[in-house]
Subunit: 215 residues, 2 copies
């Protein structure tokens, strides 16, 4: 079986925005973007990894929330998903947003021009790699030991891998919220239809799941 490169549970606004450029420690998604609101569809499900009490829905949104880790053996993410710093690392104290138990449970390859030693937190290991998308993907595939690789975002990273024609499937949840200026995945989902099939699936929660797979 092929090892796919999959975008999973990536959420954008109705106008295609996932984050803003003024990311900071206090605002991981930038000014005026409340991740709780953007990810409310997933947070309401029984399978949400951050759930602290029982309950949650087991309908359509739960299928996608669960699928985040199914058959995934590695993740690739951009440096700005890992942290708000820019340029050379001042020190190695920053270990990501996720505390001692990151929700990845696999090797994670962080794209950066400023390499640093790998970090292991519980069952997640972050590797810091400089390289073109195809080279980094080859490394992630090897680490994934036969399983698929998740492309974790953000927008800039996904667009880079789309430009290199390396993405096999995308699950993008489009939230009903409009965000205005920001880092934009697309002008319209139709932008990808020359290369991908598309199923558009409205959920009772208000988001519309967009499922793309290569033609």
């Amino acid at each position: 079986m092929d090892q796919l490169l999959r975008v999973q549970n990536f959420t954008v606004s109705s106008d295609g925005v996932a984050a803003r450029e003024d990311q900071s420690l206090e605002r991981p998604f930038g000014h005026g973007i409340d991740p709780g609101e953007l990810f409310a569809w997933a947070g309401a499900t029984a399978s949400w990894p951050g759930r602290t009490e029982p309950g949650g829905s087991r309908g359509l949104d739960d299928y996608f929330t669960r699928d985040f880790s199914h058959h995934i053996g590695a993740e690739i993410m951009g440096r700005n998903k890992f942290g708000p710093q820019r340029g050379p690392w001042r020190d190695h104290e920053w270990r990501g947003w996720w505390g001692d138990e990151p929700p990845f449970h696999t090797p994670v390859f962080v794209l950066t021009h400023h390499e640093r030693p790998s970090i292991t937190l519980s069952d997640t290991t972050f590797h810091f790699v400089d390289g073109d998308p195809a080279t980094v993907l080859a490394r992630a595939r090897e680490a994934a030991r036969g399983k698929d690789v998740r492309l974790g975002g953000g927008v800039t990273t996904i667009r880079e891998f789309l430009d290199a024609d390396l993405v096999d499937t995308l699950h993008i949840a489009v939230s009903p919220v409009k965000l205005g200026p920001g880092l934009r995945l697309w002008d319209s989902p139709d932008d990808l239809r020359d290369r991908f099939h598309l199923d558009t699936v409205p959920s009772p929660s208000g988001v519309t799941h967009h499922l793309f797979w290569r033609k």
Copy 2:
């Protein structure tokens, strides 16, 4: 985490029929029911276990096809799903419809008043058990080692476990085909709404996925 009892990828006609009573070796679903037609939505997906050549869709229907085995540690099925025989076994030659590589890959508990020795075929072991739903479920949960249990059908078995209030979630694909007389899961999906939440999700393939979870 709870061990759920889940109905997965169970397909019925628009009028709620999954099979007919005149099941035979030649017609596993009974006269006039073509399983290829009923399961066309799953057969067209990339993840269909019976797929012999590459290709297939990776849209909405593929999510459900893949979910068939996710986090499942055992199955419970009625005897009529296992084979067309009725009454005492004349011999033990019948080993199910699925050949040497059954698609279950876990212990399977076959409900029957006529017990016989267990059979192992590849990584599937069939156990033949006589008992009320709660007792059989307890056995299946133990065999599932922390994972969920799939309730595999047919209709009579699903209704028995619903009557005993043991089912946690159901995924029922309703095909656009109308079948008329037969073994009927429901008069209408609304029959279950007193005890279950329901998401109704139309797929571009023509089936409508019904996702139920306990209130």
